[in-house]
Amino acid sequence: MSYDRSHRGGGNRRRHRDDYDDRRRDAYESPADKLKTAIIKFGDVDVEEELPRKHSHVISNLSEAFRIAVTEQPYKIPHYAALLRRLHDSDSTEETPPTTDDASLGKQILEDFWKGFQAYLDKLAWRETRLCIHFFAHLTVAKLISTDSMFGLLQSFTAVLEEFGVSHGRAKKAAVCAAEGLMIGGPILKASSSERVQEVINAIQSYNDTVTSPKWLIGPILKMYSDEGSTSNADELLDIVLQALRTLDKSDFAETASSFSQPYISYADPDLTAFTPYNLPSVLVPPEVVELDGLSTDSGEDAQVKKEEWPEYFLRLFDNDASSRVTPDPKTPAGYAVHSGLIDILDIFEVNRKECARLLIEYPKWTIPGTFKPKPGGTVVPEPVPGKDWQLESTVIENVLGAYFVLPESSHKSIYYIGLITELCKLSPSTVGPAVGKSIRKLYSTLGDGLDVEVARRFAEWFAVHMSNFGFQWVWKEWIPDLSLAVQHPKRAFMRRALEFEIRLSYHDRILKTLPEEMQAPEGHTISEQAPGPDFEYDDPAKPHHDAALAVLNLFRGRAKAEDVISHLDTLKVTLETSDDGGVVNADLLIRSIAIQSLLHIGSRSFSHLLNAIERYLPLLRNIASGGASSAGGGGNAEAKADILTASAAFWKHNRHMVAIVFDKLMQYQIVDPTDVVGWTFINRAEIRELSEATGPLSLSAFEWDLLKGALDKANGRVMIARRKVMALRKEEDDTRARVKASGGADGNAMDVDSEVKAEETPAVDSPALTTALKAFASLTREQKGALSRTLDGFVSCLAPGSSDSNPNPHSRVVISEQGWTDRAGWEKDEWNSWETWGWYRQFCRSYAPYLRNYSTTLYTVSFAKFDGSTDPAAELLKKTWNVSTGQE
């Protein structure tokens, strides 16, 4: 029922529609609006006939309002439970027991609400499902729902944990549904059956006992030598759920009252002779829908991608002193309630970070008084509760950052969390600012003590964007003493990286000025000496081949045709090879370098200039990439493509941002393939000393990781596009066939029988478009597999180098031993480089696990078969990491 009032009376607007165009006019019609309209319009057509319908209409609108309220404002759930309880009462002015039987408005709303819950469950909308369970649990304590049926509901969720081959993502979400329901409903549930409480807890416990090895790989604090997953300053979701549950259970859920609001608790008990509590119907958690698209790679591997399969670790920042905690410990019931309450707000309000920030700051209003320190100057000062009295801003920032640092990837984009913290600071600079400052210092202090490399990278990213929003004001001087650390120590690497990211968002001079002298100085190795400009190797007339390069450059400047440049380069090559001084040893390499650097030179003014240059000279670039053989694409020449990448990187050696951009666009225009970039990053990159922090023995720093990630994401993204295309074409053809069939059936009478039979016998033939799309899909999955395989191989040769490998890193085995780690105070550049490389290998395995799993058998054979029977600790750790990621351990 929708009477769109905004369309009426709009004549005036229509005449002025060039000036007024409110696109929000089709906005969602709220239940309140619908309800009002439904009642006001009642009887306009036929009052007799409308009456019964109108009644159910009113109820369903009310229950929809409850569903929206409960699933989008979880912090109010206890109060909605109280409201619904009131709606059960015959006399809503007093807290009288519900007496009227099934007829009460409240009961009807509850029954209708259940249908909505069932719909969420059918869609496996986990968050909505879980929040409805909160609501039901509160209603159980408020005695509107029978304990027996509530147990039944919780046990439908623990049943998921016993499914054969249940995915971790599914099990985790089901376990949390059951656990949170029990935490809230515990007081009344345990009184009704302590055995069933045990069953729920035990089911979660025994599931959690099976997930030890992934925890080792996914914790934000690295201890590579140890098998343990848990560390003191990070909490895993199911671990904290269980600890909080056990604590509650020990006291027969007495602590529920101090952890969750129960505004209805003082209401009188219902008279059970006249009132029957609602029995929740029994449910089955539907199985996960596996979208079977039947698409597999040419070698028959499954090409599906499934994410969210990891345990969830939250980094804790403020835990040093248990006696005077500023933020709650999520392992305690009250701490868990705050943690999950804040994380829910964070997820639900992702659509509007400004509102989200406001709600986070207003969160204490929904908690039990005394949970957070009162705002200074507040009128009512509640008695601080011992063990609580936490600091709101530190708690909020700790939880936002905790969610941001979840490995292998956060649920939302980094920039969401970063933007949210910016909004929080804008809302209340004087209180949030210090909490942010403290968090930065705390995170910085854990660098070098095992903070995961990916977490450190996100930290630098947050730091730079945050500073960009707040005038780049950071007190750098407090970190001056750390300049005495090894140049690749994580703290120094962080400073360099953060400053590099700041410069990308701003400019060199601006950022340089924010630093103290010690850091500005070249010997401080903290910030680049000059603004990151291009470096055209042949610019200097004194340099060899200056004239040859200048001639090529002038062709580009004069917008010469690509063919003309190609033939000029061919001539130049001959000249170089036959020059008087015996000829150039590698004329191909030189020609490529001159051509690429000159092209980048004309495209060096801006990103758009770069794109124009590439687009205009695509035929030339393809010609170079193919090794000059032909300009028809397809594969190209690996050496030529590596030379293109080397020339590009050399040209932008003072600007790593541009290196990443140029590589990305070269892949985008299919001049080089992701596999080429991966190979280059592991091998050829070392040729350009200025570019890399990870020089010396083979190793990777964050910059190289970014290049790898760019290449892998490109390869995976292409497969994704190809898959979508195939699906769309298939659907189109199915639809066409169905239409033909349908119309054929209609005309059936006119058709002679023979031809009809023939038509049915003809097998479905794919259209040329679909055939092409399938071919593209096959070749792109090959490329994807190639890129992944090349990366794995690269890591293996970095981390477990054979004695014959060139430039092996002698430290890769030391840094993973317990003794080595304990002695890290004496580590030099190479040790830290090696440690960081191990960190990126871990991130590669866990973050690309959804893709790697599809190819695990082949990739294992290619990269690890040589280690069979080996006791090399590096080989062991490589294999173990791999096996855990691909779900084989």
């Binding site: 696109r23 984009k413 990103f607």
Partner: protein, 213 residues
């Protein structure tokens, strides 16, 4: 998913005043748009700075990324005049920018993003009488990032070069046409920073004292 708050990725009342497509078509285009209009840039902000910030909303693993950036240029001087278009490969990325980046700072200015119908040749130029953006002719504050004070000559720019250039007109930003449209929706409070007259305020409002951090 948003009944209790309005999402930040909704199209605002920003539009291309010269577009020839009707409203229904415009809405359709916007609901799948991959292009953003970015406003309130400093004249000195480079494409690489824009690329760095907007990459954070890209989803390369999903086939996305920044396709191109088109700098807004002064029609006469061909220098940046404070706006640009960012074109992604996917609509989701454009929405992410609306949610996460619009209203945050780039080069120390609060920038604003809006979904756009899609770039067409010619739209890269300012539509003001002076060659730049119209909004810079109505400014009353000193804005060093956008050429300082509004110069006197703008007042009688009808006679100046480019005043009668074809395809003139203007990027109708809400604030720049406030005098001729009483029907225009008022600026909502969260649009702060979009409005040049609030420029002074926006520069002070988010400073967090670093000493306190």
């Amino acid at each position: 998913m948003a009944h209790v708050v309005s999402p930040l990725d909704q199209p605002s009342n920003y539009k291309d005043s010269q577009t020839r497509v009707d409203r229904q078509r415009q809405n359709d285009l916007l609901s799948s748009s991959t292009t953003l209009y970015i406003g309130n840039l400093s004249f000195y902000t480079t494409e690489e700075q824009i690329y760095e910030l907007f990459t954070k909303c890209a989803s390369p693993e999903d086939g996305g990324g920044i396709k191109r950036i088109i700098m807004g240029l002064d029609r006469n001087t061909r220098t940046p005049c404070g706006f640009c278009f960012v074109e992604y490969y996917t609509h989701t990325e454009a929405l992410a920018s609306m949610r996460y980046v619009s209203g945050t700072k780039l080069d120390e200015r609060i920038i604003r993003c809006d979904l756009d119908l899609g770039y067409k040749e010619g739209r890269q130029f300012g539509r003001g009488k002076s060659g730049g953006q119209v909004r810079d002719e109505h400014r009353q504050d000193y804005d060093p990032g956008r050429g300082g004070w509004v110069e006197e000559r703008y007042a009688d720019a009808q006679d100046g070069p480019g005043a009668v250039a074809g395809g003139g007109g203007d990027w109708k930003e809400a604030e720049s046409t406030g005098n001729d449209s009483r029907l225009k929706r008022g600026r909502s409070p969260e649009d702060e920073g979009d409005n040049t007259r609030l420029g002074q305020r926006s520069r002070i409002e988010d400073e967090v004292d670093a000493e306190r951090m």
